[in-house]
Symmetry: C2
Subunit: 351 residues, 2 copies
């Protein structure tokens, strides 16, 4: 029974290992053995110490421990090379966060990888050892190789965190939004923003091979079909990041379907498809919804060519990932602090 977790008077000092030793009736050396899980301590003695921990409400001073070990945290963000604007924002915030976290002895670095070469990613992860690095945040499509590499990494004692776009239902560990819910949100806004009695919705992605797009599409269709049966969703168009291809498939689709009343751009890089749509002769009152805030989408929102933006704040993402990695590499046991990334909805009036 802990009397109180918190000092009732300001000057009440926090219990130290010395206090633990005194209360448990053992030496500081033994307290140390228990706290750090070393061998050769009678279970009876362990119990005495843990009882004292509970009684005093002892919390290990991590700063002091890190100082003693001269430990500093080194985290690596494994990110795709491809430089779309969203990724640029992420990079910028990683460097910014690097400076902020420096005084906490946290280093954050970026390792660019070819996101479509699972072997290369796996090889990189395999090259990391606990001595070199304390945690990795990985933004890459889910593949069996990657999944295995992450598991092995965790087994070697380096924590790995899916970042933004990755591994399906690593769920509670992912730093990023629930893409299915994001798709649902887009659909609800789309359905309610569209006043036409019926019509079709154009759906554009960079590639439907990425899990993100699949999940968004899933959520989107689910809500449109269930709640807005007067609307039809067209098959996903894929740009593969190419402007020419985007031009081709989008114009083809708009000519084939005269009743388009909405456009949903699922990929994080909305610039290419939106520029193409700009040039296409679609009716003005079309509702368009895209993802991620970038200089381009922000501007598009302002001038009305986009009606809503589903976003995740890059700064929050980065800082949250860093804090999560720190928590993970500190207490392998305690539950991670619940830092759920929320889906933000941006419209012209709250950017």
């Amino acid at each position: 029974m802990q009397k109180s977790l918190r000092p009732s008077t300001p000057n009440m000092a926090r219990p130290t290992t010395k206090d633990l030793a005194r209360v448990a009736g053992v030496s500081r050396a033994t307290v140390d053995r228990v706290l750090n899980g070393r061998e050769g301590v009678k279970s009876e003695t362990v119990e005495k110490v843990t009882a004292a921990i509970r009684e005093l409400g002892f919390v290990r001073n991590i700063s002091a421990a890190n100082l003693a070990k001269s430990k500093s945290y080194r985290f690596i963000f494994v990110l795709p090379r491809s430089g779309d604007q969203f990724l640029d924002e992420i990079l910028r915030h990683i460097h910014e966060a690097g400076e902020v976290f420096a005084s906490d002895m946290i280093w954050a670095e970026v390792q660019p990888i070819d996101e479509n070469d699972p072997h290369q990613i796996a090889a990189f992860l395999a090259s990391l050892s606990p001595g070199d690095v304390d945690g990795v945040a990985i933004m890459a499509p889910e593949t069996p190789q990657l999944r295995d590499a992450m598991t092995r990494l965790a087994e070697r004692g380096v924590c790995a965190l899916p970042f933004i776009s990755n591994q399906a239902l690593s769920g509670d560990n992912l730093v990023g939004i629930d893409n299915r819910a994001a798709g649902k949100t887009a659909a609800t806004l789309m359905g309610r923003f569209i006043h036409a009695p019926r019509g079709q919705i154009l759906v554009i992605a960079e590639s439907m091979q990425s899990r993100d797009s699949l999940e968004r599409r899933l959520g989107f269709d689910q809500v449109i079909n269930h709640s807005f049966p007067h609307l039809t969703t067209l098959p996903s168009l894929e740009t593969y990041g190419s402007a020419e291809r985007a031009e081709r498939v989008i114009t083809a689709a708009t000519q084939r379907n005269p009743d388009i009343v909405g456009v949903y751009v699922m990929s994080s890089e909305a610039r290419i498809p939106l520029e193409v749509l700009e040039r296409t002769d679609l009716p003005q009152q079309i509702v368009s919804i895209a993802h991620e805030r970038t200089p381009f989408t922000e501007n598009a929102l302002r001038n009305g060519s986009i009606d809503a933006l589903i976003t995740q704040d890059p700064g929050h993402l980065v800082r949250s990932a860093i804090r999560r990695l720190r928590a993970l590499s500190d207490n392998l046991t305690t539950s991670t602090s619940q830092e759920k990334i929320r889906i933000e909805v941006l419209i012209a009036t709250n950017i």
Copy 2:
């Protein structure tokens, strides 16, 4: 000799005050004098040390410094007594955060106050000294007394942070959302969700004396008038937190205005007005938008009696405030880490 801010190899240690002393060609005592701004150092010597700091990219190890000073942070949340559900959530998260931040030597406490007694608040703030407490987050209506008390507190070296609802345009320091933008967002959603060719919107607040409500109303009207001229906003109804009064004014308003197509509940406690509306015989397809996620509003969103919720995540608010206070009390000079709280839009599909 190390030019880079960041270690290129993992084992490159961070420069310490000892390194600074060596490079600057002075003693560690002098480095200490410069670092901590003590008097009696020739400006020439100061320059030598700051040059070394720049050259090495020295960053003070705050953990070690705090350890040496046996400093721990003590922050106080000054919150209204009144226990609405939103406040309950805030309280819960403060206690939760207290445990998480304990290992970083951060204590967070709550001081309940009567939010409508500026004198009492000012007196409490005046009773605080830098020795007792390192920072205060204050949630209370703006008054001249409070503003003065906060200024004086800051002068005494205790940082004060407006929390959620407070001081007008302390702007960049406020932990909370921009209420004007929140009102605008509500209006945009309202305007686009309403399909009726014309109609009136009911606006309900707890009290229009609070700055929050005023700003939300301002933003709301601005957007409705500008972008949705076919809609009319009715004068704000005030409940003063009383169920009877809410019942009276709301039923009166609904009888007086037959063309109500939307309801906007501005106050953070949406339960009372919504329960009244539930009993009122309004047409089913009315669009209703409220603020803050509570067990009640969450449920209302699920069962469709609310169409959208403008929220700020209580957990984020609390943790952000704590981190902000820590940053403030650490470096009185450096720019605070940019932790802007975003306006979240919740609809049935992304709760």
